[in-house]
Symmetry: C2
């Protein structure tokens, strides 16, 4: 929770007000720009973490999770600005964390299992930890994608930045 | 400048108030924890970007840059809290950006050259771009290092996170 509540503010501080050259550029065809990442996080608040936590708590392994559409934001974000997406993410995340807190999840709950369509049995503890890791790795992705936009600009320094070749 | 002024706020939002398990853990012996990264950025504000920009503008290639101590923060940060380092970084960065703005750097200035002890001739434009890339890649590093602290906790999901093996 401590990390999950920080992510919308981190991304807003990093991205709000930047022009498209920073927010709409990606690493390669089919990869995410910072704009795509924020849209992906918005969609995750709606379709991924909370619904899956609910399934674990209400149905356990008897009802598998819906497969997650990693590219849903390609149409869901269409026509929106990054500021709109950042605000939507902040609102949804805040709502979902309030919901999570209201559940007063116990240690026993954390060990409850669900059925992931690709990975098999997973626990609620693993799902919630993955939510955190998912946030952190997408912040890492956003800053890596942004850094790469300056690959040419930094001239000979490029050899000191291993990350430029990831 | 647009990115450079954001970095202290991004790191504060991400790190301030987190416990040592998040801020003091690293990836492997000799690598940086988030605490080390912030100390490294503080030291960079004092010993790297501004002094080197000054050398380019005042001396050109006639005076090589001082080699930069990538591990200076290991003693410079000793005994400080991450909150102190975050505040120090914010203050120094703000001061250095004011200084940079006060120079009213021209296109001609941006093409001026300096002598890097390892890389040879570099331009002021490349130095300033590298400053931005250096910020972004260290934010990526901090979030990657934090994500790795949950490598065990996420169970089978680990296979979906390529970054865990970087």
């Amino acid at each position: 929770m401590l990390i999950l509540q920080r992510t919308p503010g981190v991304l807003r501080t990093l991205l709000d007000g930047l022009d498209d050259a920073w927010t709409r550029s990606n690493e390669a065809p089919g990869t995410f720009s910072p704009f795509d990442v924020v849209g992906h996080l918005v969609y995750g608040e709606k379709a991924d973490w909370r619904p899956r936590a609910s399934i674990i708590l209400e149905h356990g392994v008897s009802k598998p999770f819906e497969p997650y559409d990693r590219f849903a934001q390609m149409h869901e974000s269409h026509g929106k600005t990054i500021r709109e997406l950042l605000k939507e993410f902040e609102k949804l995340r805040s709502k979902n964390l309030k919901w999570l807190k209201s559940l007063s999840i116990s240690e026993t709950d954390l060990d409850k299992k669900g059925l992931h369509p690709g990975l098999g049995e997973v626990t609620l503890r693993q799902l919630l930890s993955t939510w955190v890791v998912h946030d952190l790795t997408h912040i890492a992705q956003v800053t890596r994608v942004m850094a790469k936009q300056y690959k040419e600009e930094i001239g000979p320094w490029v050899e000191y930045f291993r990350i430029m070749n990831f």
